[in-house]
């Protein structure tokens, strides 16, 4: 495991979030009926950062929730070890909302597939959009991001690690070479 390159630093992450926040507001023509749902773990913090950026832009609060997709995974049997199930906290009605799903890295698309199944158990949003900090390619399902902080072509021998202040104590995105 060797760190190959730092793709984003603290300022880079902050700029990407600011830009995505602007794009979300633009596309949804404001914040009416808008809500953000972060996928555990880091998506939750990114969703909160987006919400505070949107508040700076529009002056309105956007509700945020947290989604744990463990119970909806299609690879439960393949995972090494028993996965940790964390809390889903969506304390608002998602029916008829424009819901922006937030995650750190978009890769195969399987996490997002699981998240869509989970969300649909909560209601019927008017639309579901996807915001990710990093899109690294290699999709295995027909899923794409509506908002991406950065597109990074990667090899499957590499891992992309998003580190956030809230979880790792530092804001950065690095590419790691496996083996």
């Amino acid at each position: 495991m060797k760190e190959k390159a730092k793709i984003l630093d603290k300022d880079g992450i902050a700029r990407a979030i600011t830009r995505i926040a602007h794009e979300i507001v633009e596309k949804n023509k404001g914040t009416q009926g808008l809500c953000l749902v972060g996928i555990r773990n880091r998506g939750v913090y990114l969703a909160q950062r987006l919400a505070s950026c949107i508040k700076n832009i529009e002056g309105t609060e956007v509700v945020t929730g947290a989604l744990d997709i463990t119970l909806y995974r299609d690879d439960l049997a393949l995972a090494s070890g028993v996965p940790v199930v964390r809390k889903t906290e969506i304390d608002f009605d998602i029916n008829d909302k424009n819901l922006v799903l937030v995650d750190d890295v978009l890769y195969t698309g399987r996490t997002i597939r699981a998240a869509l199944d989970a969300l649909i158990d909560f209601g019927r949003p008017k639309s579901i959009q996807l915001a990710v900090l990093i899109d690294r390619g290699h999709r295995e399902l027909p899923i794409r991001a509506d908002y991406a902080g950065k597109n990074i072509p990667t090899s499957q021998d590499e891992a992309v690690e998003v580190r956030l202040q809230e979880t790792e104590g530092v804001d950065e995105v690095v590419i790691i070479e496996k083996n």
Binding site: Y72, A77, L78, G81, V82, K87
Partner: protein, 315 residues
């Protein structure tokens, strides 16, 4: 902390970390039952068999609801109407259920150690839903979960268990679980109903209900089974209520927000008065709700661990 056990047989064998993992997993599962669609696909395609050698409604229904909220298929076998009546042994029954390609057997049995024996002879997961006087791990887990939810922690809590300690698997599992998590326990019962050597489990003993209530953060009141005593039951019930029954009057001497628990079904006017059972200190119905979350967590963890074991064996 990684869960590696294919079975849940008792709390005696679990570490503090394993107990905490079940509790935190249950916390996540609790939310599922608050949704409009109360179901997640985690055990889709898995089959859970409830094998009950003793009559039980609440535990069986709780396991059934838990399994269904995980999208598992559930089959209930009550042994009064099965081949067990024709003399089939427990192990044969277990192997037959395994041959049906079931994934989890939830067993309730009147013999202590039945779940352990079954688990040794089958590769499917076994969850103990109460074996004789030995253990009833999921009941204790839901009691502990409820306590933790109400009081924020288990470490340092004073918990009293009142009632028939000698014949209670609920008491034994609670004692194992709570002491491992750092609670201080007092058991309170008539002398006849305290098993010899119970002090070795690290608990205080008393025959005085007021003493048991005095400094307790919570009291877990066990069910008395006087119905087995036939015509002498009634005077015994009156006497028990007078000596050990929890009443509003008695609770006045206790901490104001003492938590009153009962595994159900409550014998009103024997173990506690109706006023207490329905009063502000009672969490009896919350225990029922929490039982679903705890059993979902247990079914999920053992199923996942067994899946890993099977994958390792085929690699």
């Amino acid at each position: 902390m990684n869960w590696v056990r294919k079975d849940l047989l008792g709390l005696e064998e679990l570490s503090k970390e394993e107990l905490e993992l079940i509790l935190s997993t249950a916390e996540s599962f609790k939310e599922v039952s608050t949704r409009e669609i109360k179901k997640v696909p985690a055990l889709r395609g898995k089959t859970v068999v409830n094998l009950f050698y003793e009559p039980s409604t609440r535990t069986r229904v709780s396991f059934e609801v838990a399994a269904k909220r995980l999208s598992a298929d559930v089959i209930n076998i009550a042994t009064e109407t099965s081949s067990v009546k024709k003399g089939e042994t427990l192990i044969d029954t277990g192997r037959n259920i395994e041959a049906l390609k079931a994934d989890i057997i939830v067993i309730r049995h009147n013999f202590s150690g039945a779940a352990i024996m079954l688990a040794r002879h089958v590769n499917v997961s076994v969850v103990n839903a109460g074996d004789g006087w030995h253990e009833h791990p999921t009941q204790a887990l839901l009691d502990i979960f409820t306590l933790k939810e109400k009081l924020g922690k288990i470490e340092g809590l004073q918990v009293s268990i009142v009632g028939d300690i000698a014949h209670s698997r609920v008491a034994r599992s609670n004692i194992w679980g709570l002491t491992k998590l750092g609670a201080k326990l007092t058991v309170c019962a008539p002398k006849m109903l305290i098993p010899p050597g119970i002090e070795k489990m690290g608990v205080n003993l008393t025959n005085d209900i007021d003493e048991a209530l005095k400094n307790a953060d919570a009291v877990n009141v066990l069910r008395m089974q006087f119905e087995r005593d036939g015509e002498t039951a009634f005077p015994k019930q009156l006497e028990y209520f007078k000596e050990f029954g929890i009443t509003k009057e008695r609770l006045k001497q206790a901490k104001k927000d003492i938590i009153v628990m009962h595994p159900g079904p409550v014998n009103r006017g024997i173990e506690m008065s109706s006023g207490v059972a329905d009063g502000e200190n009672s969490v009896i119905l919350e225990q029922v709700t929490n039982g679903i979350a705890v059993r979902m967590a247990v079914l999920f963890l053992v199923a996942q661990a067994n899946e890993k074991i099977k994958n390792e064996n085929t690699d």
